[in-house]
């Protein structure tokens, strides 16, 4: 909100009617407000499922600890059961032998639920195009955010969480099975490569690795 200070006895200082209305009356749709409030609550208490597959899980765990501190984003409440968690992070390689288990665990999570695919293996199989690896976890479950890297840094995981939060804020889910249209409307997926292209191309001075 904008503020300015004016003298009370200055006749020109009295706010116009329009301004008075703008400052004291809230106009909006109750439905939007309700969605906004619900989404705000959801995005700031994303409870992750305690689930890890391989190397990426170590970087994910690093994001939980003091230096990166996931609690800043309301996601430090790790749940050991899928039934209490909101987000599953597929941190590692989706192995063929593990795939039915991953699928079952995902199905045991309650709606609303989200999936973050962490690292190259979960994104696409990565460097493991091999008989025992599923070529991307999106072959078996829907994915909301992909994190690139092998493994991604903990900061990349935090960024993914923020992206997921932004996406949740603009989601539309039915407030009740009685209210409004049913079904989920999500924000169109955002490509970070496109979003950052101009900025990256503008970089001309790259630090040499010769000095620390």
């Amino acid at each position: 909100m904008d503020y300015s200070l004016k003298r009370m006895d200055d006749p020109g200082a009295a706010p116009s009617l329009d301004e008075q209305v703008r400052k004291s009356v809230f106009l909006g749709k109750l439905e939007d407000l309700a969605h906004h409030a619900v989404n705000w609550g959801r995005k700031n208490s994303l409870w992750p499922f305690n689930f890890g597959l391989s190397c990426c899980y170590v970087e994910m765990a690093t994001a939980f600890t003091s230096t990166h501190d996931l609690a800043r984003f309301g996601s430090e409440v790790i749940r050991a059961t899928p039934r209490q968690s909101d987000v599953i992070v597929i941190s590692g390689t989706p192995f063929l032998k593990m795939a039915p288990v991953i699928k079952l665990l995902y199905e045991q999570m309650l709606e609303p639920k989200w999936v973050i695919s962490m690292g190259s293996c979960a994104n696409s199989g990565g460097m493991y195009d091999i008989y025992s690896v599923v070529q991307g976890v999106d072959k078996i479950l829907p994915v909301d955010v992909y994190i690139s890297g092998c493994p991604p840094r903990p900061e990349a995981f935090l960024q993914a969480l923020i992206l997921l939060q932004n996406s949740i804020q603009s989601e539309r889910r039915p407030l009740s099975w009685m209210v409004g249209p049913q079904g989920v409307t999500k924000m169109p997926a955002l490509s970070m490569r496109d979003a950052r292209h101009a900025e990256r191309m503008a970089a001309t001075d790259l630090r040499t690795p010769d000095d620390v």
Binding site: N50, F51, G52, L53, S54, C55, Y57, V58, E59, A61, T62, T65, S66, T67, A80, T93, F95, L96, K97, M98, A99, P100, V101, K103, L104, L105, G125, M127, Y128, D129, I130, Y131, S132, V133, V134, Q135, K139, I140, C150, P151, R153, P209, D210, D211, V212
Partner: protein, 590 residues
């Protein structure tokens, strides 16, 4: 000693001579290998007799079955008079008394090969033989329960055979529909009778509990089937294979150089330490001598990774026995170590920074300051942790006297590394067979007394201190010189002369385009990795890729021992035992 296999005609000495004398005219054939390890081909019919001699009858016997694997020989070109074989089963035995190894090979033929089982001699042969059956389709006569271990039971075929497809994209497109999920879940169901879970008494019920493959305290995708009497463990049956990434098959397709990143992901907490045994084996076959600066840089980074790995162990171990806070402190230290590692290698967990013949780049300017800062930081933190964790009464009561085994048990089960040293035996590969210049460093081998959960932790904590000592010596005495060997097979070669003479230009071009061609031969190299002894057994057929890459990891036999040390204990004790083993599943299933 170099290059292709040459059959030795001269009078063999040492262990080979001893065996020749005991089994005259029985068809034993010696093979020369690049690593100089005594290698003997034994007819399948004589295998058990020879193995029994090696394990029980010699004066200083080979008591540890260090590795058991197989090779599909059907497409191998450079066999140079080796016995005719379609498949070879390879046994590697270790004698701690002799400080020596021996490699025994058995030639098998046909599409359904069969070999006598050595499970009667070595307890840990069980899983190794199941693995060979699963991946090669070799049957072991007399094995108590020969079923798949890595692949799902619904799998068809044996992936490490040369005629089996390698890529997932070559297989049929995966459809994980409800029917498939149900079928796979059905295959994962526990049949108590199959695993020897019998009723303890007529009027007494036991419970079967499934722990994993996703459970917060099993450290990855690992499953244990438990038979419980109340909360007491009657039987614990580990089930592995959920983390099988086909790393050995991958070695047959990547060039010698491009396989390096895959090694980082074997023991994924060990980082560049995984590169070392792989590269040492290649360098031995290629005849490359690594300059002392490169060797010292390698040692320094390996010890950094030993510290980060042990710190992760320390924190999660404390957490598993009920102490939440240490892990938060220890991850801060890990960050500090990663800051140094990242400044030097440019990456955190998997730098893949070692190269054939040296390392990827020289140390950056100012590395000394970073290393010094870490060396100043760490010791006082370790002192804090001693009060916070090691002397904590709850931690002690949950771990002292739990999961105890003796040195003899450890050797029987193939246990190496801190798990072996905690039983009181000071066997460290860096001292027993120094590599990469470890003989020039001054450090001690910490040991425990009781071989229990607590001692395994104490040994690792002391190892962190010893690693700091080694890093300090690297810092104080870093040799000058090249960071990579000037040898034609170094990949990629040092570039400074590339534009000056045609010879280096051509080597550079070839090594970075199709990769180096390593002379045909076989070589095993071992390092003292973070979790125990880690070996790469490479077979080159004179090509740009390995013919067979065998990765012997320490965690595989360690997990096999769980039933033996957890019987009769409570479930929380099992969690403490699992934590004390310090494994990562990639190091088990590869």
């Amino acid at each position: 000693m170099m290059s292709s296999a040459v059959l030795q005609e001269a009078q063999p000495t040492g262990i080979v001579g001893e065996l020749y004398a005991r089994f005259p005219g029985e068809g034993l054939v010696e093979q020369a290998t690049a690593d100089g390890m005594p290698t003997l081909w034994v007819p399948a019919a004589k295998l058990l007799a020879v193995m029994k001699t090696l394990k029980r009858e010699l004066r200083q016997p080979y008591r540890m079955l260090y590795d058991l694997t197989a090779v599909d020989e059907r497409q191998r070109q450079h066999r140079n008079g080796l016995p005719v074989a379609d498949f070879t089963v390879v046994y590697q035995l270790l004698s701690i008394e002799r400080n020596a190894d021996v490699r025994i090979k058995v030639a098998l033929s046909g599409d359904a090969p069969c070999c006598p089982s050595v499970t009667g001699l070595w307890l840990n042969a069980n899983w190794y033989e199941r693995e060979v059956w699963d991946l090669f389709g070799i049957r072991f006569e007399g094995h108590p329960h020969l079923v798949r271990i890595m692949m799902p039971r619904t799998w068809d075929g044996h992936p490490l055979r040369k005629d089996h497809f390698a890529r997932a994209t070559e297989a049929e497109r995966l459809v994980m529909d409800q029917a498939r999920v149900e079928r796979e879940q059905e295959a994962l169901k526990i049949d108590p009778a199959e695993w020897g879970m019998r009723e303890v008494a007529e009027d007494h019920d036991t419970m079967v509990l499934n722990l994993g493959p996703n459970h917060p305290s099993v450290h990855g995708v690992f499953r244990i089937m438990l038979q419980l009497d109340g909360e007491q463990i009657v039987q614990a049956v580990p089930d592995i294979g959920y983390h099988h990434r086909g790393a050995e098959k991958m070695g047959e397709r990547q060039s010698w150089h491009t396989y390096i990143p895959y090694t980082d992901r074997i023991d994924y907490l060990g980082g560049v330490m995984n590169n070392l045994p792989y590269l040492m084996a290649i360098e031995r076959m290629a005849g490359i001598t690594v300059p002392s600066r490169a060797q010292t840089i390698r040692v320094m980074l390996c010890e950094f990774f030993r510290i980060t790995s042990h710190l992760l162990f320390y924190g999660t171990y404390a957490q598993d026995v009920g102490s939440m806070s240490p892990v938060f402190f220890m991850f801060v230290d890990r960050q500090k170590a990663y800051d140094v590692i990242e400044a030097i290698t440019g990456f955190r967990m998997h730098p893949a920074w070692f190269r054939i013949g040296g390392v990827a780049a020289d140390l950056p300017n100012g590395w000394e300051r970073l290393v010094r800062e870490f060396l100043d930081w760490m010791p006082k933190r370790l002192k804090d942790y001693e009060k916070m964790a090691l002397k904590n009464t709850i931690l002690k009561r949950r771990s002292v006297g739990i999961g105890t085994y003796s040195t003899q048990d450890a050797i029987d089960w193939g246990v190496t590394g801190p798990g072996l040293r905690a039983t009181g035996l000071a066997f460290d590969w860096r001292k027993a067979r120094p590599y990469s210049g470890y003989e020039h460093f001054d450090f001690e081998v910490p040991t425990g007394n009781n071989g229990d959960v607590y001692d395994r932790c104490v040994v690792r904590v002391e190892e962190i201190r010893q690693s700091l000592r080694i890093i300090e010596q690297c810092l104080d005495h870093m040799p000058s010189g090249d960071y990579k060997a000037r040898h034609p097979l170094t990949t990629p070669p040092i570039k400074d002369r590339t534009m000056q003479d045609i010879e280096t230009l051509i080597h550079h071009f070839l090594n970075v385009s199709w990769g180096p061609v390593i002379p045909a031969g076989e070589c095993t190299m071992t390092v003292e990795a973070t979790k125990g002894l880690n070996s790469y057994y490479l077979t080159s057929d004179g090509g740009t890729a390995s013919y067979r890459t065998r990765i012997r990891t320490p965690s595989f036999p360690h997990l096999q021992m769980i039933p033996y040390i957890s019987r009769g204990l409570m479930v929380p004790d099992l969690i403490a035992i699992i934590a004390s083993i310090d494994f990562v599943m990639a190091d088990v299933d590869r």
